[in-house]
């Protein structure tokens, strides 16, 4: 399978730069983060879409809100997305709403069992493959050896694909003082279908690392991604996550860096 390169779409403000990236054959798809703002139409960009969402709390004991899931399903059906990206997360304590950015669940047996139930129902509802992704980690797991083991276990149980967010993974390893390659062995490599790559920043405490889509990926993340692109047997997509408010110059620098990593594995399909 040829490898494709894409960018995350969050906001219509990105349309112009995305259009230019497509013209320059730097991208093959956009990964749209649903639900999208009222009145926006990324499908009108005439570029293939990978459906993604940060709005389903797949680990919640309350289950997944059908109103949100329906919007994502409709978009994925309309764009014929080959899979739907979902985060292993909570959003709050109620059946709807979000208290802020995604909340990492407790990585315990109970939550794994609930997550497996939720994801299997979502998969059936979508009638389409699901790819699971972890957020950046700060706190040590209390039930599993690590969050990566939790992800690997749920993916195996429900038979899902996996999005390996290289930046989130490395943030977790740095924050928990683990080796660079810690945890990868917990995930069946044949399940990893997509990589996410973005910037990260060191907090003002000079101790903890955070996701930073406004920055370019650092050299270590790019180096790890390069090796993963060589090694992962089922990898089909590499997505660059870059903030709509970050500089356009950086957007193109990042995209070229990622294109350089893919080498001959990418088939350039853009116009």
């Amino acid at each position: 399978m040829d490898l494709r390169v894409g960018v995350r779409w969050d906001d219509p403000a990105q349309n112009e730069r995305i259009h230019r990236a497509q013209e320059q054959c730097l991208i093959d798809y956009i990964e749209v983060n649903y639900p999208i703002p009222f009145g926006s139409n990324p499908h009108g960009l005439d570029i293939p879409v990978l459906a993604h969402t940060s709005s389903n709390p797949t680990c919640s004991a309350e289950g997944v809100n059908l109103n949100i899931a329906r919007r994502i399903k409709e978009a994925a059906d309309e764009t014929n997305s080959p899979w739907i990206g979902e985060h292993l997360s909570w959003l709050g304590t109620a059946p709807t709403g979000s208290l802020g950015y995604q909340i990492n669940p407790l990585f315990t047996d109970e939550i794994a069992a609930v997550t497996a139930l939720n994801v299997s129902r979502l998969k059936e509802y979508y009638d389409r493959p699901i790819a699971l992704e972890l957020g950046p980690i700060y706190i040590q797991s209390t039930g599993y050896e690590s969050e990566m083991h939790f992800l690997g276990s749920v993916a195996n149980e429900v038979d899902t694909k996996v999005i390996l967010d290289v930046t989130h993974w490395q943030i977790g390893n740095r924050n928990l003082e683990r080796p660079i390659d810690y945890g990868l062995e917990a995930i069946d490599p044949s399940r990893i279908i997509e990589l996410h790559i973005a910037g990260m920043r060191l907090g003002s405490d000079q101790r903890f690392w955070h996701d930073a889509h406004e920055l370019l990926p650092d050299a270590e993340v790019l180096s790890i991604a390069s090796k993963l692109i060589e090694d992962l047997p089922a990898l089909e997509a590499v997505t660059f996550e870059h903030s709509p408010i970050a500089s356009e110059e950086d957007f193109f620098v990042g995209l070229r860096q990622i294109n350089d990593l893919t080498g001959n594995r990418r088939s350039r399909t853009a116009a």
Partner: protein
């Protein structure tokens, strides 16, 4: 009474763990109680004491970093929407604090806020939850309220509502077309403050003009409340 199914029992246990862990991430008061009386906190959340090992050590720098990050994000968004209110509260003794809000039931309850402008339903932002909570805590629509605080809170929340109206929005926000108004003093019928949907602030003293405001479709901010949003179906 019907026995709960294995899944219901599992979800019930997980729901309690989820509620406790999230409360610990946000609320300093619960964190303090946890450090001194963990078994009582577990009990308050309906969890047996043998579940304590599911909860991470909250004294670690890792836990503190995540907790501070989450609280800071909420605090920043509220401070951005209510800058004058924030200054006023910080300089007024015995005022409700941000910690009071972030530990309140209202913060965790999506139905205590408005539907999100993007159309995903209630509880996806904290600004409206904060407004309704603060209005209640400081009795902003009562005769003896702090009028200066009332004016700041209402002006800033009305501005936020107009911002939501002026971008592509859920039909709920259509009611703010034209603007919002409120009486300056809940004890009196005038003057009335009007914030137009073009961000022009008027002080109206003419009774005839004031009577026309609802007739021309403008919304009284004192009448804006979290709607009785129906429970949404879940994929259970």
């Amino acid at each position: 009474m019907q026995e709960p199914t294995a899944e219901q029992a599992l979800r019930d246990r997980a729901r309690k763990l989820q509620a406790l862990h999230i409360k610990l991430l946000f609320c300093p008061t619960t964190q303090e109680k946890w450090l001194t009386e963990a078994s009582k906190v577990l009990d308050a959340f309906g969890l047996p004491s043998n579940m304590q090992d599911r909860i991470p050590d909250i004294t670690t720098d890792q836990f503190k970093a995540e907790s501070i990050g989450r609280r800071t994000l909420v605090e920043r968004s509220i401070g951005k929407a209510f800058p004058e209110t924030k200054l006023h509260l910080e300089t007024s003794p015995d005022s409700p604090t941000f910690n009071d809000f972030i530990c309140s039931d209202e913060f965790f309850d999506p139905k205590s806020g408005l539907p999100h402008s993007s159309g995903v339903g209630p509880g996806y932002e904290n600004i409206s939850k904060y407004f309704f909570w603060l209005k209640q805590e400081t009795k902003l629509n009562s005769a003896d309220c702090d009028l200066d605080l009332r004016n700041k809170v209402y002006t800033e929340f009305a501005t936020w509502l107009i911002n939501e109206f002026n971008r592509p929005h859920d039909p709920y926000y259509d009611q703010f077309e034209g603007g919002l108004y409120w009486v300056q003093n809940p004890n009196e019928n005038k003057p009335v403050i009007l914030l137009s949907d073009e961000y022009v602030l008027y002080t109206l003293n003419d009774t005839k003009t004031i009577k026309q405001l609802p007739q021309i479709g403008l919304t009284d901010l004192d009448g804006v409340e979290p709607p009785d949003w129906p429970d949404e179906a879940t994929l259970l």
